[in-house]
Amino acid sequence: MVTEKDVEHIGELADIGIDTAELATFTGQFNAIVEYFDVLDRVQGDDAVTRDLYNVLRDDAVTRDLYNVLRDDVVEPSLSQDEATRNAGAREDGFIKAPRVM
């Protein structure tokens, strides 16, 4: 059971900005969806509950023959500084201006 307090906390983690007035609706929908997700408890094939996620991904990589795709680290033509920053809401001296972090 997901509570309004849980949804508020998740909203905070996701930086999504939730009003108190929205909490009840989101919580109700959340519970219906998460209850549906519980069908995953029936997934067979591995002891998933105790199995580490990173092992899942590692084994998956082996079975699917995945490998890294990297290029040589050489300078190539790219966007100009102006093109790359043109969509920013605030610019200063050719840089993108962001809200304060500290």
């Binding site: 909203g11 995953l40 997934v43 996620l53 093109e83 605030a90 809200p99």
Partner: protein, 434 residues
Amino acid sequence: MAVHTINFEPDDRYNAFLKVCAKPSHGEGKLVGIAIAVKDNISTQGIETTCASKILKGYVPPYDAHAVGLIKNAGAAVAGKTNMDEFGMGTSTENSAFGPTLNPRDTGRVPGGSSGGSAAVVAAGMVRMALGTDTGGSIRCPAAFCGIVGLKPTYGRVSRYGLIAYANSLETIGPMATNVADVSLLMSVIAGHDRKDTTSHDKPYDHTPSGDINGLRIGVPEEYFGKGVDPEVAAVVRRAIGRLEDLGASTVPCSIPSMEYALAAYYVICTSEASSNLARFDGVRYGPAADTRKSWHAAYQDVRKQGFGPEVRRRIMLGTFALSSGYYGKYYAKAQIARENVRKDFARLFQDVDVLCGPTMPMIAFKLGEKSDPLSMYLSDILTVPVNLAGIPAISVPCGKVQGMPVGLQVMGRPFEDERVIDVAYAYEQAVKP
């Protein structure tokens, strides 16, 4: 190269275009002078690209998506950007920040989603072809609901460079048109290797559709005709499969047991990826500006609360929840195992059969506003999401009507056998041609 322009003045009474290019230019090539509409989550240099979201209002990409560069190089004219569910999150195109698209076959109904705008502009005859994207059915669903053809290519066959990511392990760009030959033609232009997409494969598509399916083995999964599927839709699709038998194919009843949890796995994975991919929308580099006088979190939350619609916020939160400490073992890890089981089920079936056939959607296009709660909307994706989990190709081709509305036959194939699903769809289309 000579540059020409065309006049493009569509009568868009369906709110299918978000942006129309009135005099697009074009060069020479095998798509010479063909007006092609592009879904609004695919980057177009110099043309506003919003993903139908307020959070990207005013964003003008400084570069083209690889697929857009390819169609331009082939002589196509980019005719405009099409409406969609915000960031691709939906099955009806009702989740657009700029209003829903109407289904040209019945304007009281949805066109399907999320590539509803692309399907509607093709179905209404405004353009000959369109690019869509398919994360969990977003090309095939609107193709079925609007009565056109749509191909979800094998994952890795078409570059995702410049496709604004929502659930990157699932989604792909693909072609939409009124007939299989045009879908095949557009596919031949957009497929191939791109070093800017690390998941891209070197598998060009150079194929002319053939209607010869003599000896083809078709698997018919019982889950595609079972609970939740409208019996009238199922009957129309069974008749279509019967036509394929008349052409020399044989059918084999089969089962995909992992379908039991495929939809849940899909929604856990796509929302998890969305929570990560959509973290970039912070009002700093693009979109409506963040208030730089405020602290980071306060400014960030303001922008995202106002910029994202309810379904996008819901999916970001669901994904954040599924990945959060104490829950990822229960949801995300389990979903990945379920995904592997889906992939194994398909691999097992494709040892015995060449393709699988069933309905694209479990119902005809529903009425605008009919599905108001999120879970019931999600459940309508049950027949399309397994393909995305497995990364295999699938096509939807019109195969009849129920209550006057089109029904889509879905043909699913082995990885990188896009040519074969095209051929099966072509064989059907030619057989029923009036």
